[in-house]
Amino acid sequence: MPAPSHLTRAEVEEFGRELDRIRDEVLAGLGEQDARYIRGVIATQRKLEMSGRVLLFASWLPPAWAAGTAALATAKILENMEIGHNVLHGQWDWMRDPKIHSTTWEWDSACPADLWKHSHNFVHHTWTNVLGKDRDIGYSALRISPEQQWHPVYLAQPLYNILLALFFEYGIAIYDLELERIPSGQKSLKEALAQLRAIAGKVQRQIVKDYVAFPLLAGPAFLPVLLGNLTANLARNVWAHTIIFCGHFPEGAEFFTEDRLQDETRGEWYLRQLLGSCNIDGSRLFHIMSGNLSHQIEHHLFPDLPSNRYAEIAPRVRALCERFGLAYTSDSLARQAGSVWKRVLRLALPGPGPQPTAATSPARKLKAVA
């Protein structure tokens, strides 16, 4: 693969070694405090969820409904993002606690953990932003990169994106089935049906819990509880969609072609992860609520390092990028989300410009910020 014009191969590898050093340092320092952090987040999330549900039982009082729904939405966001996503990445496997382990964890998402670990941890994190390999580019529904061939179906993609945001967990579950691989025989129908059954089982339990059992327990408050749960689920979906789309699709994130994967070295892999990811600036609370995916760059460089460490290594990664003259894309949530929407709207239409050929593809040019 061609190295960025201003970096020699040796420099790319040196960049990789520096990142390895950061990784080794963090791994060597993991201990008591980190364990206390994740146990604290899990306990907080569970207490918040219980408080939210109790408050919703008193939801004939409008403030109780609002507070209960907010608490429940917050709990659901924490559960999916700072806890579920990161535990399933194996970030906490080093603790050897079977209760907080990637092989035993199940989350409050329509997509079963095993299915998601394959499509996300393996497919997306290995082939990040490589067209034709990383299925997360547009989630098979949207045209997110100009290199994706335009089709009239994309004219309505702003609408698809809104629907995807609202029903994100279901969108992800269906998407993770990889249905497009069935006609070609890459995936058997039997396997897909078994996975579909697993999804249906999870969805059934989620629906019974949020839309039948808890509303029934609330008796006269049946409807407010149902609406509170629905609002919390929708809020979680929209939030997760927003954060995740801001990770790889804002202006500045680069896409790559498959030839780039040929003989890719460790340093080059790091480089692709860096250039394909974007950070979101924010407070400590914001980082936690985003599952530390606001540190998308650090997460993609080190997907299995505990998320509570991303904030502390971010300045070092940034300094390293400056030293090597590499782009480190980071901006506020409003700007990043605006940038994503601009892209979704623009690419709903054909273009921009003539379809680039492989040789001049901007995806192959690695932009340098001096």
Partner: protein, 359 residues
């Protein structure tokens, strides 16, 4: 009833279990994961302490002499070890005790004996082990112990001796017991339960205690033993202590094999410079390069695999995994063995070439 309620409550807690929420109030309410709370820590000697542990529901009473597996979090990481239960079963307060001697460089033993505060939650696995006295007990048992080898025997003694009253009644027709305990420790101060043992021996006509203080008197030899307890070969013997002592006892034992019961508490591992190989843990999808002398248990733990583990010395079989391909080396004997489908003890086996194991 409780089971049905729990089942119904799972519809409210999905994808978690009800106890994941209840555990926030009291960690001991867990039924899925056996846990214990350290209620007290009593120093026994300069380097040994007894931990009083209250188990969660689901704990079944042990037989005196058995051991328990205990999972302790140190620096955020869980470590499993086995310790003999030093208390008789069914204490009135519902707790049991383990007595831990801090061994130099022993991460877990040092942590438990010196740095564990009351209130600490530990993970447990039910009592196990064959180092027990049958019912009814043989009339003339001999216990040979050294160092912390006394701990299981302490639990057994309490059941064998009719309390420490001066003149106990004995069921008619039944021979009163004649118990001999020969215990070795470097100095009198190093004898774990020293004061209690001496008190027991002074008050009970049924217990003869011989303390051997090895720093002044040297190690106990089988010849010394014949002097202290001339009929030792006619007795039923329970021996617990360092490997060298146990090997010596076994070598000099002339009685029937089923009357000698031995409990090891240190691994007897051969050093090995042999080549290892790539290990694939099929269930968790992890891979790692393993040295020929590194236990697969350690390899897996370092690779982030949720390895079951226990004694870490090849006796408890808590750590077994099914071999899918390749061969392993037994670190105790150096022997290379294994066929697809074999259950391998990961704590005493190393890779002998590339292997796949279903863990």
């Amino acid at each position: 009833m409780l089971g049905k309620l729990n089942h119904a409550a799972q519809w409210l807690s999905t994808p978690l279990l009800p106890e994941d929420y209840l555990g926030l109030l009291d960690p001991l309410w867990s039924a899925e994961e056996l846990r214990g709370r350290v209620e007290g820590v009593c120093p026994e000697t300069a380097d040994a302490a007894t931990l009083v542990i209250r188990p969660s529901r689901g704990w079944r009473a042990h037989r005196p002499g058995q051991w328990v597996r205990i999972g302790v979090d140190i620096q955020g990481r869980r470590h499993w070890r086995t310790y003999s239960l030093s208390s008789p079963p069914e204490r009135p307060d519902g707790c049991f005790t383990i007595t831990v001697k801090a061994i130099p460089d022993g991460l877990v033993s040092t942590h438990l004996a010196r740095r564990t505060a009351p209130g600490t939650i530990v993970r447990l696995a039910g009592p196990e082990g064959e180092f027990v006295v049958p019912e009814p007990p043989p009339p003339r048992p001999l216990f040979l112990t050294a160092g912390s080898g006394i701990t299981p025997v302490m639990a057994i003694l309490s059941g064998l001796l009719p309390g420490d009253t001066a003149h106990p009644t004995w069921p008619p027709g039944q021979e009163p017991p004649d118990v001999v305990l020969v215990h070795s420790a470097p100095t009198p101060q190093d004898v774990i339960f020293g004061a209690r043992l001496r008190h027991l021996a002074a008050r009970s006509p049924y217990l003869r205690l011989h303390e051997r203080h090895t720093r002044s008197a040297g190690r106990l030899s089988p010849a010394d033993l014949a002097g202290l307890c001339p009929d030792w070969a006619q007795r039923s013997v329970w021996a617990c202590g360092p490997a060298a002592m146990l090997d010596e006892v076994a070598a000099h034992w002339t009685g029937p094999a089923d009357r000698l019961c031995v409990e090891r508490f240190r691994p007897a591992v051969l050093a090995s410079g042999e080549a290892g190989g790539r290990v694939r843990f099929t269930r968790s999808g992890r891979e790692a390069d393993a040295g020929g002398a590194t236990p697969l248990l350690t390899v897996g733990e370092d690779a982030g695999v949720l390895m079951p583990s226990g004694c870490r010395m090849g006796i408890c079989h808590s750590c077994v995994g099914r071999l899918r391909s390749g061969r392993v080396r037994d670190l105790r004997t150096g022997q290379v063995h294994g066929e697809a489908g074999d259950l391998i003890q990961t704590c005493v086996s190393a890779a002998a070439g590339p292997i796949e194991i279903e863990l």
